[in-house]
């Protein structure tokens, strides 16, 4: 026991933390996408596992082909939107249930990603290309680290502001109404099928963007990098809600703060991840841990409701 604790170096943990925060920020963008489908549209979209890797594959291959990383990242956003479009059409046009439609897209994307990359993974080195994000910027000099985090924070704040404004527009309201009460939405003249497709496109666009950034961050795109992404996204959403839910509802522009909480949720997730690794828990158990955490927190509101109903029935 003593040997175990003495083998843990606090300094090692401290050194790893900036990388975890950076990773959380990048994945936070994907978590925003999950939040939009899961919470706003009430659609469990498993496309993300495929569109995350799709975004990375498209971006990395474009950069390797000589396209500027900014352009490549934007194209990855569009690629993600196409993935969302496919799921949306499978669901609304062909009547395939939402979860199944998204699984079909996800599985199809696995082959497509292999085709895009030509093999199961492709490196992209920060030495050869002017990447937007990279772990090297974080582990490098203090100046490059500060520059990286400043850039990321500004980007995320701008992204949240854009999303906040968008969900306050007529279109954004139509999305929220469709997710909350599709009967009401249709009675008020909203084409709920169109709105579903649109929302899936926006969400998967963000996931593709996140994948593109993560591919650059770790210096490679991998066909398996999105595996279980939906669970990480949900974990981030839930951690954000549990930690800040009570705090955000009371604030002005509550929705904007909620989006911020989702990103912080993703950061917390990767900090915990790092901590658990530091405790020398085997990394292959991380997905199981994530799944359990997500299951527990999704179950809590349901069980609470059931309990209060039982109380009500007795009274």
């Amino acid at each position: 026991m003593l040997a175990y604790f003495s083998s843990l170096s606090f300094l090692t943990l401290l050194r790893a933390l900036p990388g975890s925060v950076a990773q959380g920020m990048v994945w936070g963008i994907m978590a925003l996408g999950v939040y939009i489908t899961f919470r706003l549209l009430d659609f469990a979209d498993l496309t993300v596992d495929g569109s995350m890797a799709f975004g990375a594959a498209v971006c990395v291959m474009l950069i390797r082909g000589g396209v500027h990383p900014i352009v490549a990242t934007l194209i990855a956003f569009l690629a993600g939107m196409v993935a969302g479009l496919v799921t949306g059409l499978l669901n609304t046009l062909l009547g395939i249930p939402g979860i199944l439609a998204s699984i079909l897209t996800q599985i199809g994307l696995y082959s497509i990603n292999l085709h895009v990359m030509g093999k199961s993974n492709q490196p992209v080195s920060v030495d050869n290309y002017p990447l937007l994000v990279s772990l090297r910027y974080v582990t490098g000099s203090a100046k490059s680290r500060a520059f990286f985090f400043l850039g990321m924070v500004i980007f995320l704040v701008v992204l949240i502001c854009v999303l906040y404004s968008y969900f306050g527009t007529e279109q954004g309201q139509a999305i929220r109404a469709t997710g909350c009460n599709p009967n009401m939405a249709r009675a008020q003249g909203i084409n709920t099928n169109f709105i579903k497709v649109l929302t899936l496109m926006i969400s998967n666009g963000l996931v593709g963007l996140s994948g593109a950034m993560y591919g650059q961050f770790q210096g490679a795109a991998d066909v398996n990098m999105g595996r279980g992404a939906i669970v990480i996204g949900l974990a981030a959403v839930i951690i954000g809600e549990v930690l800040f839910g009570k705090w955000t509802v009371k604030r002005k522009a509550a929705f904007g703060w909620t989006l911020g909480a989702v990103i912080i949720g993703a950061i917390v997730y990767y900090l915990v991840y790092q901590f658990v690794l530091w405790l020398k828990m085997p990394s292959e158990d991380m997905k199981l841990l994530s799944a359990v955490v997500v299951a527990v927190f999704l179950a809590i509101p349901y069980l609470k409701e059931k309990k209060s109903q039982r109380k009500g029935a007795k009274a």
């Binding site: 968008y166 306050g168 527009t169 007529e170 279109q171 954004g172 309201q173 139509a174 929220r176 109404a177 909350c180 009460n181 009967n183 009401m184 939405a185 249709r186 009675a187 008020q188 003249g189 909203i190 084409n191 709920t192």
Partner: protein, 270 residues
């Protein structure tokens, strides 16, 4: 008479649910109905008589098997539900159904006030609209004008129905569909919501169809009353004759026409 423009024409509407199964049910059986502009029609009938089914056929919740639905001279039979919303205002039995619980009162009203328009990237609620909504909400006398940025989910069933009524009428629809919209409320709240319904219909000179299971309400409200059974209209009365009706007349009528007793625990006789 044929020159006259009806607010609503239903021509021989037929709808069968679960066709070809053991649960096959003829829900609407060659139903025809003409409404003059300004008609306020109350609809009664037993369970499964086709009252709500008729409203759903008009609203386009599903396509009808045959027949035409014509609103204010426009044939809307082929239009999907969301496109018919331009012509219709709807209030449902379940107060949860007519509004979006997670959205503000003013956002719900803004969505209703832009019914039938394309959703663009304009702001969801403008300052000018806000004033208009405030004034409309104040007319309810429920104090909701002070809570415009509250989530609708925090309101009571009666408050939600009142807001849904405002939303349904806000674009002055060609036809207002009230589907047992007071059935889920306590008697006092139901009376209040009915009073608001009367006033909104009167002020906006709307043509309205109101399904109710309360015979007394059916007699007291509107200028015309129809009774349905087995997917068709079995009794249609208007004007003075309707005003002089009593509940026992309706019961007798029902037995006479349908040949069965109006025994129905959901039907309120009093």
């Amino acid at each position: 008479m044929s020159e006259e423009k009806y607010a609503l024409e239903l021509r021989e509407i037929t709808k069968v649910f679960n066709r070809g199964t053991v649960n096959e049910k003829l829900a609407l059986s060659g139903l025809s109905l003409n409404l003059l502009p300004g008609d306020f029609v109350t609809i009664i009938g037993g369970n499964g008589a086709g009252k709500s089914t008729m409203l759903n056929a008009i609203a386009g919740v599903w396509p009808v098997d045959s027949g035409r639905v014509i609103v204010d001279g426009t044939d809307i039979t082929a239009l999907p539900e969301h496109k018919r919303a331009l012509y219709l205002g709807r209030v449902f039995q379940d107060p949860m159904n007519g509004t979006a619980a997670t959205m503000d009162i003013e956002e719900n009203m803004a969505i209703a006030s832009r019914r039938g328009q394309r959703q663009t990237l304009r702001r969801g609620v403008s300052a000018k609209e806000r004033e208009f909504f405030r004034e409309r909400l104040a007319s309810l006398g429920l104090g909701l004008e002070e809570r415009m940025t509250s989530k609708v989910g925090l309101l009571s069933g009666g408050q939600r129905q009142a807001i849904t009524l405002l939303m349904a009428a806000i674009k002055k629809p060609k036809l207002l569909l009230l589907d047992e919209h007071t059935a889920a409320l306590d008697p006092k709240t139901a009376a209040k919501v009915l009073e608001i319904s009367d006033r909104i219909i009167e002020e906006n000179q709307l043509t309205a169809l109101m399904v109710t299971h309360n015979m007394r309400d059916a007699i007291a409200h509107g200028n015309r009353l129809i009774m349905m059974d087995e997917g068709r209209i079995i009794y249609d009365v208007r004007g003075e004759e309707k005003k002089n009706l009593h509940v026992k007349d309706l019961l007798a009528k029902f037995e006479e026409v349908s040949g069965t007793e109006f025994a129905n625990d959901r039907m309120m006789l009093g």
